[in-house]
Amino acid sequence: MDSHALAAQTSETGHIEHAHPPHLRHHFETVEQQREAASFGMWLFLLTEIMFFGGLFCAYLIYRNWYYPAFVVGSHQLKIWAGTTNTGVLIGSSFTMAMAVYSSQVRNRAALIGYLLLTIVLGTVFLGIKGYEWHDEWEHHHVPGLNFSVSDFVHTSAAYPEDKPLPLDMAEKTQVYFSLYFAMTGMHALHMIIGVSLLIILLAQAWGGAYTDGHMTTIENFGLYWHFVDIIWIFLFPLLYLISRHQ
């Protein structure tokens, strides 16, 4: 191979000016390829998130099997109205997020901004209610390690009088339930906080006119993330709040 010729050729051509469509990054051939890559990457990322939460779900499964009575009374200490409201809020936010993606597709800037705003509000409401619940659990000494006390579980609980008090050894195991509860809802809330922060950025960009000009991969992928976080909650809610509620 003739390196001289090669060098000459490359230095001449240096950088070929392609007629780029807007938003097409230089290393992709077509807009379609870019969209597919972005969406494939997002799904892969969600797969890693499933594995991330999977570790917690696995721990939950094992301990719930071992310490079922402790999980039952621990679960009964949670505020079911708060959990239910939050589930509703989150499903609502998924709807507004879907509508935001739709608005982006039909290039309706006002609707996009409105729906993004609504999603932010709903996400914040969720976090607010969650924060209220955590505060309440702190007051009731249900936080393992920091201020845990078994007294709610070895005596008949005012919140759920049908529950028989637990023997001390089983009552101690409610710590495992609450450890998992805080780890799981905490990790979920962390994802919500990241989501809301990203939404604020998206909102600012949409305000500036982005995402209604035909380029909406970012909004779509964020939508996937938001729905994923929602789905995690759809699993957390029955697993944490609804254990043996029919009794």
Binding site: P69, P167, L168, D169, M170, E172
Partner: protein, 358 residues
């Protein structure tokens, strides 16, 4: 070993041991483990030689100077199948052989004598049934199966006796067991092999294998006066266990006579074999081990009994073959009089060692 002449085997092992590149063989299982080891070395050497020969011969035969033209070859399904199936077959032999050894090492024979081991940062505490205590050493008789029931007070440890080719993790919160039968008298290394903190490398000791006569002499020379079961009996009374577990028809708790090794029906309908671990867990987490037919009234003794105390209780319950002595103890403690009949040489009112000072 069974399949080669014992004389040759002894010669081989002695020769290797002399070079300090082979550990002494001092247990019944050791020659079997070593035979498997030699098999594995054998297939490794054969594999390595084949790979080495292929690479070496081809490198010489097909080096550029001798073979300037490469011949392109796609592959050969037959050849590839060959070097898939032959290693697989050799590995399967290793799998079966290894599994057979594993089951032997981790399933103690029923006639094994039981010794208890408690690991803590950074020492081994050994409790013999006769009440002999040892720190960082373990005396055992030869030609007799010895089972170790082990637990950790704090972090993971691992109990390893290389000369016996046995090792087992010592875990906080649950019993693990290992057994061996020493064959040659001598003093061997005892190591903690699981990293357990700062002085991990000083959590070592020695295993002394003795002839039965020497062992008897050692046992009687180092007794503390109270056997493990006797200590357990005192604890049993001091903790008030006997008020429920006394075998009387209207007792609140199940009878414990001959319970270890028996099938127990749990409150959820399933059956389980009552082992040492089951008894220990029942003391600490009675709710998780609710026996069918009894009300869930047993309190937990978590934090009230040390691991050594639990071992005494387990050993006591293991040896309990009738409820006669429990009844006796009840009657005796009511009158406040001691009993000097074996095995309960202590009085139930004296503070039993093994209770955690609160």
């Amino acid at each position: 070993m069974h399949f080669i002449s014992p004389v040759l085997w002894q010669f081989l092992i002695k020769w290797l041991t002399n070079f300090a590149i082979f550990p002494p063989e001092a247990s019944r299982i050791a020659p079997d483990v070593d035979a498997f080891y030699f098999y594995l070395i054998g297939i490794s050497v054969v594999g390595l030689v084949i790979v080495g020969l292929l690479v070496g011969v081809f490198s010489v035969r097909y080096r550029k100077e001798r073979n300037p033209e490469a011949t392109q070859i796609e592959g050969s399904t037959l050849l590839e199948a060959t070097w898939t199936i032959i290693p697989l077959a050799l590995f399967m032999v290793s799998f079966v052989w290894g599994a057979l050894l594993y089951f032997r090492i981790y399933n103690p024979p029923t006639n094994a004598m039981n010794v208890y081991v408690v690991g803590k940062q950074w020492m081994w505490k050994v409790e013999h049934p006769g009440g002999q205590h040892e720190i960082n050493s373990l005396h055992v008789p030869i030609n007799r199966p010895v089972q170790l029931t082990m637990i950790s007070q704090d972090v993971f440890h691992s109990f390893s006796i290389p000369a016996f080719r046995v090792k087992r993790e010592v875990i906080p919160g649950r019993y693990s067991t290992v057994w061996f039968e020493a064959t040659a008298p001598g003093t061997y290394h005892l190591f903690c092999t699981q990293y357990c903190g700062t002085l991990h490398s000083q959590m070592i000791g020695q295993v002394v294998a003795m002839t039965p006569d020497d062992y008897q002499a050692w046992i009687s020379g180092s007794t503390s006066g109270t056997s493990l079961a006797q200590n357990g009996e005192r604890l049993f009374a001091a903790l008030g266990c006997n008020s429920c577990h006394n075998g009387t028809p209207n007792a609140h708790g199940p009878s414990l006579a001959n319970v270890i090794g028996s099938q127990v029906q749990l409150a959820n309908g399933t059956y389980t074999t009552a082992t040492d671990a089951f008894v220990r867990d029942s003391i600490l987490n009675p709710t998780l081990h609710q026996v069918a037919g009894y009300a869930p009234i047993m309190p937990t003794y978590q934090g009230q009994v040390s691991e050594e105390g639990l071992i005494s209780l387990v050993e006591y319950i293991r040896r309990l073959d009738s409820n006669y002595r429990i009844d006796q103890t009840l009657n005796v403690s009511e009158t406040g009089a001691g009993s000097d009949a074996a095995p309960a040489s202590g009085t139930s009112t004296s503070t039993a060692s093994g209770m955690v000072k609160q």
